[in-house]
Symmetry: C3
Subunit: 250 residues, 3 copies
């Protein structure tokens, strides 16, 4: 049974249910799985990182329907991306920035659809996902294209300085960065300097929250294999306040 995995910023609204209805009307035998609908409204960068941390855990052949779409109804285009293992469908606004092994990009021809101006997830992207799950040919939906929009990169390391960013804060208030775990080649318990908005914090690198003192600001390797800045039984968001560039000095 084919899987369509959905990620949106629709929250707890009926828009998610409507999308599922549309898909099941076209292919009643597909397995629809929610990744999350809790992406912060319009946060394309968060969507890009969350997608990157999630998609490889799904079976080969999974079709990802990703809709964080502040520009719906304007000139931004929609795309279908075929990679070595997966399909991705959604607006081409940067949400697919970190998708790897791209083999083919199709620019969706919106004229093929009788679409509303505000709900392309329902009128264009969901039907395409459903038809692909039934074996449709990608070229039926538009012409091939060279590239996709990429707005987020992984962090860079120069010497003992890592130039990254806090991409978003998760539900627990942890600051999720774009710094791959392998950049942090130091030992558990060692300290490093975190520089943000001209503030400097001395923080420890710990194995898990459990090894941090209560309310201590620490960093660790998150479950997405990126560096995460956290406060044990507290919220890093309250301390660091906003997303944006950071420097880690090892």
């Amino acid at each position: 049974m084919k899987i369509i995995a959905i990620m949106t910023d629709f929250g707890y609204s009926e828009y998610v249910g409507i999308i599922k209805g549309v898909i099941l009307k076209i292919n009643p035998l597909v397995n629809i799985v929610d990744i999350t609908h809790g992406i912060e409204k319009f946060d394309i960068r968060q969507a890009a990182l969350v997608l990157y941390s999630s998609y490889k855990y799904f079976p080969h052949g999974t079709i990802f329907l990703v809709v964080i779409d502040p520009g719906v109804g304007t000139e931004r285009r929609g795309v279908i991306i075929k990679t070595r293992d997966y399909y991705f469908i959604g607006p081409d606004n940067g949400i697919f920035s970190l998708v790897e092994n791209v083999e083919k990009v199709i620019e969706i021809d919106h004229e093929l659809f009788n679409a509303s101006y505000t709900f392309h997830a329902r009128d264009i992207f969901a039907p395409i996902a459903a038809y692909i799950s039934k074996g449709a040919c990608l070229r039926d939906f538009g012409k091939e294209s060279k590239d996709i929009v990429r707005v987020l990169n992984l962090a860079k390391k120069r010497g003992r300085k890592i130039y990254g960013e806090i991409v978003y804060f998760d539900d627990f208030g942890n600051a999720i960065t774009n710094i791959p775990s392998k950049f942090l080649n130091i030992k558990y318990g060692e300290s490093l300097r975190l520089i943000k908005d001209e503030n400097v914090y001395e923080i420890r690198f710990v194995k898990t929250y459990g090894y941090a003192r209560e309310k201590e600001l620490v960093c660790l390797i998150g479950s997405n294999d990126f560096v995460e800045i956290s406060v044990n039984k507290g919220s890093a968001k309250e301390i660091l306040k906003k997303k944006g560039p950071i420097i880690l000095e090892l």
Copy 2:
């Protein structure tokens, strides 16, 4: 595979999971789909409009289990509604106000069930949905009835004035009205007057959020095909504050 689509105001609670357990115990082969569980607590009018905007996107034969039920355990009755294409099950308190093409109404005989006083979704409505998905006869659950409770109508148009209401605010803070899109027969970019609580607002009719200036109050056709009052990258709720009657002057 039969589909049972669920809409409630239970939020992120285990009550939704329990309902699914009950259904799967009776019919392990049914496909359960969440529409939304984010209806505002006890908001019957919102439920009626959201259901109306959602149900037609589901495959024929879908069974809708809808539970927004402030009067559970009191005298309000439960109903099964068979329409031309669908089944609807839930309390008869107005949540089915906008359901169309009604062919048959069954008043549920609560005496048939050993029900708690507070959780008819689990004890009465979910089992009925599951049995219907297995082909049960509707008359087994109660006697036929003439009518259902209807508490919400669509807006009325008289001359250049439209008498409608803000039924609810969605997750983005957009004001969702009961004014069908076809009432707004003016051009994109034209202005109209919105009257609410003795305040008058001059607002523009735009194609999508993308065409609004930042923080501008505008109206547009929402994805549910109703008029929606919105603030681009902001919240109409902060300006309009409360649900209730409005007048649009074209």
Copy 3:
């Protein structure tokens, strides 16, 4: 089709989606059902009571994957519990306190898994659930153990006094206790005394919210068959403020 039912404190995050991806990669034919992901962060006692109120409604053979895991990455062990009718998998920190009819406990050998330090749900518990749904032998995952951690008991009754606790507040602000319904052998409409934090409240026992006066503090039998303290169209949480021990005097 086997059912895996999931309960976590992950909220609306992608962690839930990742878990589902992992499961479907191992067993594409399993039916995954969400119980709730709205358990309060790290609230083991709430998880124990909610699980107890939910699990018996699921079909025999259901596999429960329960992850509320403040101690992930520290010394706390993971367990598989086989009961007469079900399987339970998760950290052994008290979330299974009220599980009944235990037949076998397996202490999971973490060395068998190449696990991260922060996401055992993905790396250990979800794969085990998926393999069990395919018929794996429990002993493959570790050695048998005698006992599980239990941190929550049901309330005790002595004479006309019931010694219980408010375990959590639900989405509606109702105070959910560990007092079984049968302890409240009085008539609807009768009053009783609620003692909490040295405050004494005179409250009525009512059949349903519908029988309470607006804003009146009442108690009733909740849908989970436990005593619940509620305010009609209001929030008991605003009055009682915090979880913890209470005494009911009949």
